[in-house]
Subunit: 326 residues, 2 copies
């Protein structure tokens, strides 16, 4: 069935769409009440984050917009040391979109929410004119335990920089799909609960964490540098990149430092705890290729020791990057 | 300046857009940290709600998409008896949209958030191809005091039905604008904190509340009937409607029971407290035209006593209604 403007009316057609698709994929006592807002247990300190997803194509190797929309938001909560708890789901659907696609996406959201331990508590559905696209906003709420204080400004000279796995996978997947290139590259879209909560449970001195999305590692490290007033020195030869993505970048002249992931993070960790932190991440789901890639310095900005023995300044991303990667 | 795909890259252009527009309109210590998520004080019981806004035109008599996006979400929190506390703001912007419009909308959001007592704690910006449109998702978090339990299922036979003011204003405004009709009708988009929190502070026996948006009062009452298992008997002559909207409906053959508002609610109140509740609403901002319009019955569905002495079954909205009203 094709979506029509009537599905956005707020009347009978909207409630049928919700019953036949969204309620089938996601059902729990809070959501099923269909009230104006969801009333749930709270916590002393909470984390809140919001993200809209406009990725194209909606289905790609290794994932889809539904899985992505849960991972992106769950990971943003985790990056402050919060335990993800609740998630919302708001669809803007373009007229003509197929309900079969909506069903697959809603089911994928539901599965990923289960994996990430979050309960979907409320939703919204709007319909606009357009070209059959589907856009999803998710907002997440988590709780922060007493004493947890993880933020960019906490980076200190001497801290170690850990990247949780291979860079560029999601970016290379989306670009391959748009170019019609068939290869083995898969999106890394994944929720990072196990590695992050593992670090916290083991009292690792995590000073800051950021997930590596739009703008890539180069942009994230520059933002950490601005917020903390410290510099970053990283080693090109230590950057984890799969052979497939490395080859893809060489052919197309892409800079791995500006390519987005959707299931990787950079953690800035007290140097004394760095090796233990690396082991925790490496032994967790989605962390097997983690590496220590550099150090926080007393300088400013981001410098890379290149493989050929030089030094290169790494800037944040300028210009377009790859549009609609997430 | 016109928005380009580069503004959605997550790099330099995105951060300039955020600095020059969104940060100018909204600044507070939590938001200014620009972290992956906002960490804030929590509460024992919280309410969460999400809503996307796709209204066209973006600027209309009496309001704009920015004001609407705060009121819609704040009111959804209030309808469960929650005190609105935090709000998120996620923009999906179509290429070619004007940054002057964005500035006005962000400023309007900021003013309305102040009026509604909510702090904007995090945001997101995405850019898609299209025709210069702007879509906003807001998600709200509020706290619910011990002992407050307001929900549709709590309606009981004998309860009184109070409507907080004139019906159809927002709907008639949007339709007038699309038809190029110049008249005195203004959108009622407004946050209903004062009337709702007034009812709660005065221990009024409020059983259920719903704001009257897409689908209109007819759809809301049918949803309350389904959720509670009770019926509604309302009086046509008691429905508050302005002369201008009444005339507009007569000319165009519109049914006031299916027209949306954005600053009106229906409250289902214990009959003993109904007159006191009405006075509290009438003396609050945006409540001067409130009326008791009917009673909850032991029947099912929604029946209207018509002005000419008959009875009419009021259904939920079927079909399209007015697309993109909010």
């Amino acid at each position: 069935m094709k979506i029509t403007m009537a599905h956005g009316s707020g009347g009978k057609s909207t409630s049928e769409l919700i019953d036949n698709i969204f309620k089938k994929a996601n059902s729990n006592p809070v959501l099923d009440m269909m009230e104006d807002s969801a009333v749930v247990d709270g916590f002393k300190t909470i984390a809140i984050t919001t993200d809209s997803f406009v990725v194209t194509p909606m289905f790609f190797n290794g994932g889809d917009i539904g899985r992505l929309s849960v991972c992106g938001t769950v990971n943003d909560l985790l990056m402050r040391g919060a335990v993800p708890k609740y998630i919302t789901s708001a669809y803007i659907i373009e007229e003509g979109a197929d309900t079969d696609d909506l069903e697959k996406i809603a089911e994928s959201m539901s599965q990923t929410a289960k994996e990430a331990g979050v309960t979907l508590v409320c939703g919204d559905t709007k319909v606009i004119e357009g070209k059959c696209g589907i856009y999803i906003n998710t907002t997440g709420v988590g709780f922060v335990e007493n004493g947890i204080d993880i933020k960019s400004a906490n980076c200190k000279a001497g801290d170690k920089v850990i990247v949780s796995g291979n860079l560029g996978d999601h970016h290379a997947t989306i670009l391959s799909s748009r170019m019609g290139i068939s290869n083995s590259i898969k999106s890394d879209n994944a929720p990072l609960n196990e590695m992050v909560l593992g670090l916290i449970k083991n009292n690792i001195g995590v000073h800051a964490m950021r997930d590596i999305t739009r703008g890539g590692l180069g942009t994230v490290l520059n933002e950490l540098s601005s917020a903390s007033g410290y510099g970053f020195l990283i080693n090109e030869e230590d950057l984890p990149v799969s052979e497939a993505v490395k080859g893809f970048c060489e052919i197309l002249g892409l800079n791995i430092m500006h390519m987005g992931n959707e299931g990787k993070m950079v953690a800035i960790v007290d140097s004394e705890d760095a090796n233990k932190a690396l082991q925790i991440i490496k032994s967790s789901k989605y962390g097997e290729n983690a590496r220590i890639i550099g150090t926080v310095t007393d300088d400013n900005g981001v410098i890379m020791n290149t493989k050929i023995g030089g030094k290169r300044i790494i800037t944040e991303l300028f210009g377009e990057g790859l549009p609609r990667i997430c």
